[in-house]
């Protein structure tokens, strides 16, 4: 994994800038177009920050919506304005790549509750003139998808050719297929589940409590105080990062090797390479991500239980669907194991949906969906190519 040069610390004004006026395209929805939330509240005005790649065809039929995971954003295929790193899905998106920008019009939007330009807890609350912080309503995966649907309307697109995403992005894909079956021609949920398990919720709670325990969090009002709960958010990221990798991947990358030293120092310094790596992951993360967003987005994932909205029967979520599905899991992913993907496949089978499924062999863990996995790419390429043919998109 390429280690980015550590950028200077971002300031509070940098982060407010990204939340309000991001270096990104933005769709703004006024008080007359509120976002109706599952929690019963309405969010208005609000905005959705997004990026697009490739060109929309005349029939407006070649649009692919890419849904990002917990800590990613809309910058899927361009240099990130804050970190300077490449887009988070550059391996997958681009000319000649599985999500081929010569062929498809790719849209990726920052989720509601995020911190890269879509309205979230770091945005200014119009009622108070201060950042929302914990006054931001608790949102759900379905709320994120509702906002995306409004963006798709705003872009003048009726039916998406495909909705694709991994992890929390995969949850959005499933929600799209359930909420808007007629607007999704093909769906690719990757390394995800139809609900968060107790173990998933438990890991998220550790992260949230780390943030809340940091005095710099200041009951969520750190932005006004010019502060940032770096320690808490960093620890949350470190704990979560372990769940994205596998035991084998950690061992292969780091083993028990020491960091720049031959002997243990008999201290609590980062003696081991793996410690140094995690600290680096934590410290770079806090420069680009908002702690309150982390609370809200992990909560949205915890609340996700697709079957619960359909009398507890998952198959009912997909009843009568005409969408083509391609479900993908990874052997070493213990955060969203293959059994979760199989549950999706069983539900789709029960509704006679057109579903393909494969479990990709890899030791890279949950994060495999972000990495160069030739078998996964071959599957995605084949599925999208044949779906494009069925949709009448030119090769």
């Amino acid at each position: 994994m390429a280690e980015a040069v550590l950028k200077p610390r971002t300031t509070v004004s940098d982060r407010v800038q990204q939340a309000e006026n991001p270096l990104s395209q933005v769709a703004r929805f006024g008080p007359d177009c509120p976002l109706k939330l599952d929690g019963g509240q309405e969010l208005a005005p609000f905005q959705v920050a997004y990026q697009t790649y490739g060109a929309l065809n005349a029939a407006r039929s070649n649009a692919i919506l890419v849904c990002h995971a917990l800590t990613a954003d809309q910058h899927a295929n361009n240099v990130h304005p804050v970190t300077g790193k490449n887009g988070w899905w550059d391996v997958m998106i681009g000319p000649g790549k599985p999500i081929d920008t010569d062929r498809y019009f790719v849209i990726c939007s920052n989720v509601i509750g995020g911190c890269m330009g879509s309205t979230g807890p770091a945005s200014t609350n119009p009622k108070t003139g201060r950042p929302y912080a914990l006054d931001f309503p608790v949102i759900t995966i379905r709320d994120m998808v509702r906002a995306q649907a409004m963006l798709i309307d705003y872009l003048g697109i009726d039916t998406l050719f495909a909705v694709i995403g991994g992890s929390m992005g995969g949850m959005q894909v499933l929600q799209w297929a359930a909420s808007y079956p007629h607007r999704v021609f093909a769906a690719v949920p990757i390394a995800c589940a139809t609900r968060h398990s107790a173990q998933n919720i438990a890991f998220h709670e550790v992260g949230r409590q780390a943030i809340i325990a940091d005095p710099e969090w200041r009951e969520g009002r750190y932005i006004e105080a010019g502060a940032n709960p770096r320690r808490g958010l960093g620890v949350a990221r470190m704990a979560a990062h372990i769940t994205y990798l596998s035991d084998a991947a950690l061992h292969r990358k780091f083993g028990r090797r020491f960091q720049d030293r031959a002997m243990p120092t008999f201290s609590f310094d980062a003696d081991f390479e793996v410690e140094s790596y995690l600290r680096h992951q934590g410290s770079t993360f806090v420069e680009r991500f908002d702690a309150n967003s982390y609370l809200y987005l992990t909560r949205a994932m915890d609340y996700f239980d697709l079957a619960a909205d359909y009398d507890g029967v998952l198959a009912h979520a997909f009843k009568g669907t005409r969408t083509r599905f391609c479900v993908v899991s990874f052997t070493s992913d213990w955060l969203f194991p293959t059994s979760e993907s199989r549950a999706i496949v069983h539900a789709l089978n029960a509704t006679s949906a057109r579903v393909s499924f494969a479990e990709i062999v890899t030791d890279k863990g949950h994060d495999a969906f972000l990495l160069d996995e030739p078998e996964f790419f071959a599957m995605a390429r084949g599925f999208l190519g044949s779906a494009a043919q069925a949709r009448g998109l030119a090769g």
Binding site: R324, C326, V345, H346, N349, A350, S352, R354, V355, S356, F357, A358, E359, I360, V361, E375, A378, M379, R381, G382, F383, G385, S386, A387, Q389, A390
Partner: protein, 226 residues
């Protein structure tokens, strides 16, 4: 050796019809009316499913190998990676008109359960098997003293995936056990071409290298599971 290879290259593949389709696949496909919903269990690279879809059949597949799934998905087929022994139980009753097991049942751990699930999931089943009662296999065991290996069944006993061999007669018996009604039975030669002769079962059991059966739920057929 060279002579023989040249001749094979020069002559058209006897296992393929003029349009390139496998002869045994055409035989199976002819049993399925257009518009049917079909599940192909052990669909390999999806060649049969593709033939069926071209004929207006709504097809799905299960395949254990990742290579097979990838090849099928690239053809635009809806194929799920899975195992006939464990995953058929997850399909609802009456989900399909036809469930196909093409040269697969002898490789399953529990052929009886697989057959029962087939006729629970689908109203009809189509099963093709390699016939271990063929005269060449009988002679091979009688005179060779070793488990026979043929062009159709080329692996040694310790390498083969085929763990439940049967003869045409044996399979008939199993159909009786699970209460399946045999609508059609066709003995085929090495390449899957039907042997079009009127003859009794013992003859086919001796001279058919493979057999294809069209089954349906019998009157007293049990619908196991779920």
């Amino acid at each position: 050796m060279l002579n023989r290879m040249t001749r094979e290259i020069a002559s058209p593949d006897p296992g393929r019809a003029e349009n390139g389709a496998r002869v045994d696949h055409l035989l199976v496909a002819d049993m399925v009316p257009p518009g049917s919903r079909v599940l192909d269990v052990g669909c390999g690279d999806g060649e049969l499913l593709q033939l069926l879809e071209r004929r207006g059949v709504d097809g799905r597949g299960i395949e254990i190998s990742r290579e097979g799934v990838n090849a099928s998905v690239a053809k635009g087929l809806a194929v799920v990676q899975g195992d006939a022994d464990t995953d058929l139980a997850d399909y609802p009753n009456d989900a399909f008109d036809y469930v196909i097991l093409s040269q697969t049942i002898q490789a399953t751990r529990r052929p009886r359960e697989v057959l029962e699930h087939m006729l629970r999931i689908g109203r009809h089943g189509i099963v093709s098997i390699p016939n271990f009662g063929h005269w060449s296999i009988r002679l091979g065991l009688l005179f060779g003293g070793r488990m026979p290996r043929t062009n159709n069944l080329p692996n040694t006993w310790y390498d083969t995936q085929n763990i439940h061999f049967c003869t045409i007669k044996d399979f008939r018996d199993l159909c009786g056990v699970v209460g399946a009604k045999m609508e059609r039975a066709v003995a085929v030669n090495h390449w899957g071409k039907p042997l079009r002769l009127p003859a009794p079962w013992w003859f086919w059991n001796m001279f058919g290298e493979q057999a294809v059966f069209l089954l349906s739920r019998g009157k007293n057929g049990k619908r196991g599971g779920q």
